[in-house]
């Protein structure tokens, strides 16, 4: 597609419910990132994929958070047993492999999925 697509754009969940957020990166983009943006804060790194391999998950806040990218394209961020503190906008970004090597910043962000946990 022309850009990074995220769905749903808005999700309201009851505390304890499981949620799944989808990211459809730009076709051909090898790298995929998930960031969490709490209200009034800047985005914070959650996890990084290169193709289907999850190379860095150091930013995931707890074991309730799980991300996958089984075929190296679409990625899903899953949050189990949601808590109120999980309320945030979840941003997905992807980048082009060739331009990464040149050191250029070619991250393309999606519009985000806003999660509200009641």
């Amino acid at each position: 597609g022309a850009g990074v697509s995220q769905s749903p754009r808005y999700k309201v969940a009851k505390r304890g419910q499981d949620v799944a957020l989808r990211c459809d990166p730009i076709s051909g983009h090898v790298s995929l990132f998930w960031y969490q943006q709490a209200l009034g804060q800047g985005p914070e790194f959650l996890t990084y994929f290169q193709n289907e391999a999850q190379l860095d998950k150091s930013g995931l806040p707890s074991d309730r958070f799980f991300a996958e990218r089984p075929e190296g394209s679409v990625s899903t961020l899953k949050i189990q047993r949601t808590q109120q503190e999980d309320s945030a906008v979840y941003l997905c970004a992807s980048s082009h492999p060739g331009q990464e090597k040149s050191g250029a910043n070619v991250l393309t962000f999606g519009a985000g999925s806003r999660l509200t946990v009641l």
């Binding site: 985005p43 050191g103 991250l107």
Partner: protein, 114 residues
């Protein structure tokens, strides 16, 4: 880990006036700096970046920023703003030039008034 401080959370400004958004980063041997803009209901877009070379960086939409190593700053400026510049602006830092694992500031909301 790198960190970024954006000193102003809100900046109101009149149309055609200049604007400066302040950003300071934690000192490091190697640092790569970025400014992103987020318009309402849109994803983050890169305005400009400093990887190396000239300390004055020009970006899109008439924005520029100056890397000042001695003051560990990377302030963003525009000489004359438009209503369409109303948005949230984020400064970010990475210890790698390929923008892997960016550390973002808390953001500065710019509101341009006629």
């Amino acid at each position: 880990a790198q960190s970024v401080t954006q000193l102003d959370s809100q900046v109101p400004v009149f149309e055609e006036a200049p604007v400066e958004l302040r950003c300071n980063y934690s000192s490091s041997v190697s640092v790569y700096l970025f400014w992103y803009v987020q318009y309402p209901n849109q994803g983050l877009q890169l305005l400009l970046k400093y990887l190396s070379g000239s300390t004055l960086v020009k970006g899109i939409n008439g924005f520029e920023a100056e890397f000042n190593k001695s003051q560990t700053s990377f302030h963003l400026r525009k000489p004359s703003v438009h209503i369409s510049d109303t948005a949230e602006y984020f400064c970010a830092v990475s210890d790698r030039p390929d923008d892997y694992k960016l550390s973002f500031g808390a953001g500065t909301t710019v509101t341009v008034r006629a």
